[in-house]
Symmetry: C2
Subunit: 693 residues, 2 copies
């Protein structure tokens, strides 16, 4: 019996073993996420860190990072200030990301203008951006009384499932005031932890707000315990749509608003009320994914243990000025990306093939065709450079539509910032200024404006940041950016070192009207240019005073000593006596400062660095048959300054003149192609020997 | 029977289960490292990524990251250029690190001076630095003929086991030309993969160099296959010492040098020869830990697959100018840290308690005692700020010792860079200049010097970078940095906007000798100061010419219009006629430019921003009984410039004058404390009503 019995016993044991192993693996399967499926987790430490300390031989893996999977991110953004925040957030995401990204931006018109241009010129590979009109969403949330500083825009996160494309199943939703300190794919990977019923991933609120005991009669919206913070959300859009999310939140909100006067924390109150009612919808996320730096934050409980913070949330209305024992640490992380050179993020993703951003291929091809041995290589390269452009960097009131209004257009870099206050005092009208800055300088500029009472008070000055790249100053690209952003029918094309006569703004508007500029007369109004070589200088309050200073040798006509042909055609002798506008003829090298309709020809962007950049524009105006009319009461005075770094760097370069000559030649060739025989005169004028003007 | 049989069967089953589970766990234990213990791995992908794709429920974990473990890093570094590289490397390490670090730096004297000051002023928490004298190690490697550009210093990695502290068991060794893109603890964690016999972890060489077929008669040193690259090394120092590493490599090197004329790749040739002989010593590391961007790199095989690069190695002699299809990508990563604001890395490590860096606690305490509501809070804060200082930013020849030599000392920020060339033309002697810059500006400065023939040619100008922090210009801290770095017995304490007379350097040395300055006479030699308000200006070549310009109104005595008392005591009328040096008396607000022995009193660092910073220094000289001797042939001329941003920002501030007054008062209190009744005269002088000087 034994011989037969043994196999039987062994068979039974084998069966038992099999069953046990199956059971073990199933148990192991549940261990994978460290908790029974569907149960909530609210861990201080992300699973990877626990993995490191886990001494068992079979560790729970961290959720797989999706290699090359397209990740979707939705952000609501309105106005210039939020747009700046969004850029910093996006920089932090791009810095760590290894996946292609698709940003879904719900924006007002202002933010859309800013961000569309920004992303278009940023040209980051493997980044797509879609815009959704916040205006259209307003009716869906405007019925909710709301006291939060984010206004209606905060509430728009509620309507994302209906707003985003119907085939979009998952999205990460972010507030503009968060900063990433890790790869966003790790956050995306947490979708894998959702049970079948869970639709929304959130981090617990790190304050006692929802406990309702902050002050007497503090009545927050209902929430599970401390509630959840909605600065970082994982949304299963597919399941939300299926579950009838829209009715769900509207029903809850309507009911709560019967007893509560308004939302205090916008969408967050409503999300929490819904979750309180349907706790199974939520997948709690590890606290490191939304470290909240509000005024009375409890975040230290989270970050004091974690070695690895993933996302910082500046959710105090004080933002970076919030008081908090460790705020310097977090501020440093934020400043890292605030000042980070966004151009460095234009790097491709290895191992994730993706189409190049629009326009990039063309630029790449043109760059590849350049000859590095060409003496003018730097010029060619600079001409082809696509600069990242952030228009309306600061809040700005568009000027009210007026038929004869005129915007002062100019460009500058950091070394001319101190001109802005004086310029504001001389020109009360609208200005459109392009600033050539690094990302860090843009922040210095911001602080400079904030610290200046004169500048802060002005609503009609629009600042457009063009980010530095390459060794040569792209003067005409800058002028074109400022020109394109001017919103009045006329523009005064000036330079930053000139202070206009105090009366110029009024006088120009009157002249435009009298001369019927643009409508009946195709003309450029010339503002005669003067200069002082002295720092301490009392600005003339009238033409008579100016003439007296000229006679006493305190003022000169502009560049009288070094480049008289630049302004000689203005005919200063005639101007002295003139009572009415007079017409002058174009001549070689003429480069007056002019007032023209906004739709005037653009500047030729091939002129980078210094030299001939305005001359070419005046040639273009003349070729297009603009009359040149000198205004008898107009003037602007150039203030002295040390030569800029760019000028000194390149004036000394021996190849510089040769390259400028090459650019001029090409400009004339293109001119002939455009205007045919009519353009001959410019070439002839150039070749004529000049008298001792 | 059944009732009794069941319990027994269950008992047997339970025992079986127990045995099975134990077996399972043990099996799991071996799986932990993904391969049998002791076997080598040479993976393109780090194990974490493979883990991500593993779909089984129990995945091999990545090696545990050692939370709060102190990690040791050794780097050999010589000279100013390598020191700059090292800083960039360290910034990249610090950016991602979460562990305390101990850097072991093998340096020459120059690098030690630079780096000791840098780390001391950087004050990064949880970073220790030890220095080892490269000079002492030279005899141990100088017998090896070597053709590599790193010279003797490259070979010093071989002697680290004997050089580093005997109780140090493990160290990561890095070349200065690597950049981290990940947490160095992940690299440290790879020590856990070493078998009992392995002593050194290396990445395979990513070129065909060691295959020996690059050109005819190319005879590389012996290596296993492609060999290994020594830009990134994990060293088990304990085992190396035990295994007799010193004899081992010396034996191998000596033997190979019988047939090979010299090492071509320094230490790397010898490491490879030893490994070829003892292949069991090496633990190959994943290629992402040393992505080599040499000229004919095969690195693409590594990075084209990996989504995650860990360390970039610029191991071409061309460094960033290396040609490579994807070099822009890598360059961006490098530039990220090159331009990164190192101040932002002064953040503490949460969850890893570590002693504050030396001096930091004191500063923190003082800062904590400040009253944020105090109107002068910004001044107080700025005074307490410890600026990161990088002395000798560019290569510099110390001046040969000469008993009467004099160094021009000055400080500047970016907006005065264009003064440097003119200054070099006027002053052929040594200069010590402190530059107040951001990290990004320091790189612009570097390019500016490289692009200038005049500046590149000068070996006796030392540039010291003081990194910007805070809103006020720390003018006296900058002066003190420049002063402390002057290497001649005398210094000319000037300002960057002044051009000295062409003859001044020679004349000062002669005067110092004649007047026996310092040795027999405790005096400050006054260099009379003038100014021009014009840009275009022909510099006088003699005192006679200068006087003519003064008479014609082209020149003025310095600040004649706004602050005559600053220089009136120089007595310009007397100077006009003087043939020999003459003594003048101190008077209130006197601030001449002077020549003094190098050991003169330092500037008072409490004066930040603008105003009274030089005045206080002259008071200090007078209190210490320096004679003030005006030199009859000396002069310097101030060139005009636009007011700096800092000046315009604070001149307009209403609290500025009040705070300056408070600083003055405190200065006088300290003066009384130091000099007793003798200091009364300064207070009295200040309180006297002044005539219309």
């Amino acid at each position: 019996m034994l011989p037969r019995g043994r196999p039987r016993a062994l068979g039974a044991a084998a069966l038992l073993l099999l069953l046990l192993l199956i059971g073990f693996f199933q148990f192991g399967g549940d261990v994978e996420y460290g908790r029974p499926r569907g149960a909530a987790a609210l861990d201080g430490e992300p699973s990877a860190d626990r993995g490191g300390h886990n001494r068992s031989d079979c560790v729970p893996p961290r959720p797989p990072l999706p290699k090359c999977e397209l990740l979707h991110v939705a952000i609501v953004c309105a106005g210039p200030n939020s747009s700046r925040d969004l850029v910093t957030l996006v920089k932090s995401v791009l810095f760590y990301r290894k996946n292609p990204l698709h940003f879904h931006l719900v924006t007002d018109t202002m933010a859309r203008n800013i961000l569309e241009m920004l992303f278009h010129t940023w040209m980051v590979p493997a980044v797509r951006v879609s815009f959704y009109d916040a205006e259209e969403l307003k009716p869906q949330v405007s019925w909710i009384p709301n006291k939060h500083y984010s206004g209606l825009y905060g509430l728009m996160k509620l309507v994302l499932p209906a707003t985003l494309p119907p085939d979009l199943a998952r999205v990460i939703v972010l507030d503009t005031d968060v900063t990433f300190a890790s790869d966003i794919a790790e956050l995306w990977a947490l979708f894998a932890h959702f049970s079948d019923k869970q639709v929304i991933g959130l981090v617990e609120n790190q304050s006692d707000w929802y406990l309702g005991n902050l002050w007497r009669n503090h009545r927050p919206w209902p929430a599970l315990g401390r509630g959840f913070n909605t600065g970082v959300i994982l949304l299963r859009l597919d399941r939300l749509r299926q579950a009838g999310w829209e009715q769900m939140w509207k029903l809850t909100a309507t009911r709560e608003l019967l007893t509560l006067p308004a939302t205090s924390l916008a969408d967050q109150d409503i999300f929490n009320a819904v979750i309180k009612e349907h706790p199974r919808l939520v997948q709690p996320l590890p606290c490191v994914w939304n470290v909240q730096l509000s005024d009375h934050t409890l975040a230290e409980r989270c970050y004091s243990e974690a070695s690895d913070l993933k996302v910082i949330h500046w959710n105090s209305p004080k933002k970076l000025r919030v008081k908090n024992k460790h705020v310097d640490h977090f501020r440093n992380l934020y400043l890292t990306f605030l000042e980070y050179d966004g151009n460095l993020l234009r790097r491709e993703l290895f191992g994730c093939p993706s189409p190049p951003p629009p326009g990039a291929e063309q630029v790449q091809r043109a760059l590849a065709q350049l000859d590095e041995e060409d003496a003018c290589f730097e010029f060619r390269q600079q001409q082809l450079t696509v600069h990242r452009v952030h228009v309306t960097f600061l809040p700005h009131e568009p000027p009210p539509p007026q038929p004869h209004d005129v915007t002062l257009v100019a460009q500058l870099s950091m070394d001319r910032l101190q001109m802005l206050e004086a310029l504001c005092r001389h020109w009360p009208g609208p200005m459109s200024l392009a600033l050539y800055l690094t990302d860090a300088e843009a922040q210095q500029f911001l602080r400079f404006v904030e610290a200046s009472a004169v500048l802060s008070a002005r609503q009609n000055v629009a600042y457009h940041v063009v980010y530095r790249e390459g060794p040569l100053y792209p003067v005409n690209q800058l002028r074109n950016v400022a020109l394109a952003q001017a919103l009045t029918p006329y523009v005064f094309l000036s330079d930053i070192d000139f202070l206009p006569a105090y009366s110029l703004y009024d006088y120009l508007r009157a002249s435009i009207e009298q001369l019927k500029l643009g409508s009946e007369r195709k003309a450029a109004l010339v503002v005669p240019a003067f200069e002082t070589l002295r720092y301490r200088f009392s600005f003339p309050s009238s033409k008579a005073e100016l003439l007296a200073l000229l006679d006493s040798g305190s003022l000169y006509t502009f560049r009288y000593h070094e480049w008289p042909q630049g302004h000689a055609p203005t005919d200063y002798a005639r101007w002295r006596e003139a009572q009415t506008p007079y017409r002058v003829q174009w001549a070689a090298d003429y480069e007056p400062y002019v007032v023209v309709p906004r739709d005037c020809p653009r500047y030729d962007p091939r002129f980078v660095g210094f030299g001939w950049n305005k001359v070419a524009h005046i040639v273009e105006l003349d070729a297009q048959e603009y009359e040149l009319l000198v205004l008898p009461e107009a003037f602007a005075i150039h203030l002295p300054h040390a030569p800029s770094l760019d000028i000194s760097r390149f004036r000394s370069s021996p190849t510089y003149r040769d390259c400028l000559q090459a650019l001029k030649d090409e400009f004339h060739q293109d001119l002939s192609r455009h205007y045919g025989a009519a353009a001959l005169k410019y070439l002839t004028a150039l070749q004529q020997p000049r008298g001792p003007a």
